[in-house]
Symmetry: C2
Subunit: 191 residues, 2 copies
């Protein structure tokens, strides 16, 4: 059963021989990597792909930490996915460890924003870097989060700076697996 719910969108990232995005590199940041592949496609729905090198699934939905004030500030600055100039992208699957998931909501929020400034650090990189977050934990996926970032080649250095900042935070001490998949779009934007 899959009733339509606003804000809830299902996506499957499929790595294999075909796809609009050429895979430039697959790098393990923390823990086990993912196998190399030539191309990446992004499919709507939670798809099982039998001839894929790998397929990762996630659903978009409710933000778990963002306040209304932060959401308003983000909404004013953020870019949509699929801008014609955003031909570079990164798919960054991460898993957080059991210690993270044993924390309560107030403890996770304190680490996420009060001490790691996840949202505040990201803000200066908007609107250049577009972002879509997908949740996989409830689905039983190997990664808790899949974040998809898109940007123009001229913003690639800014993106590296943002990643470097996030990876240095207290929040990132709870990440026990992270892979960094870089891709380049070779066909016009589909959406």
């Amino acid at each position: 059963m899959n009733p339509s719910r606003p804000g809830r969108l299902e996506f499957t990232f499929v790595a294999g021989a075909s796809g609009a995005w050429r895979i430039d590199g697959v790098t393990p940041v923390i823990g086990e990597s993912l196998p190399d592949a030539a191309r990446l496609s992004i499919l709507e729905g939670l798809v099982s792909s039998h001839d894929a090198t790998w397929a990762l699934r996630g659903v978009t939905g409710t933000q778990r930490y963002t306040t209304r004030a932060e959401q308003t500030a983000l909404a004013e600055r953020q870019s949509p996915i699929g801008r014609a100039e955003a031909t570079q992208a990164a798919l960054i699957p991460i898993r957080k460890n059991d210690a993270w998931w044993a924390l309560t909501q107030d403890e996770r929020r304190a680490i996420f924003e009060d001490r790691s400034a996840h949202i505040a650090r990201s803000m200066p990189y908007l609107p250049a870097i577009a972002r879509r977050l997908h949740h996989g934990r409830d689905l039983g996926e190997p990664f808790d989060f899949l974040t998809w970032f898109e940007f123009a080649p001229t913003d690639a250095a800014a993106f590296e700076e943002l990643l470097g900042q996030l990876r240095a935070t207290e929040e990132w001490r709870y990440v026990d697996r992270e892979v960094d998949v870089r891709v380049t779009r070779e066909v016009p934007a589909e959406r």
Copy 2:
């Protein structure tokens, strides 16, 4: 893929001709009901049951609103599922409306606890009423939450009182579908 993660347990509630729990009644509280059936089984895993009257799936996991202080107080008082004396139970599937899911975390927490006192109101009913919460929204299920309550027959009146209190809260104005499934156990506790 379904890697084992502490705290994440999958359950399927299957209504049909068999099962350890006899269904005493299926009552629509808000919106569309579920079909009547004779018995209910609780299976581990996200199961597809072809001969079921209905099957509802959910995963346990991270609490979304509870603070550490609240979690500590709850942990001191709560009972496990499967007590021998807890022969009465209720499965209460609910869905919250789009307005709820468009709220930010701080707004949802304010309604859930600061104004509706969901945790504080429930506390006096522990340890008599045991409870397990399952999330279905990320799974694409028709209900966002399945709550399973278990209690001894002598605590049935207290349970009705708790339900009446929760249904009168501001939080409940965001519920757009709720069904109340009452069951009685007819075999010894399995776990």
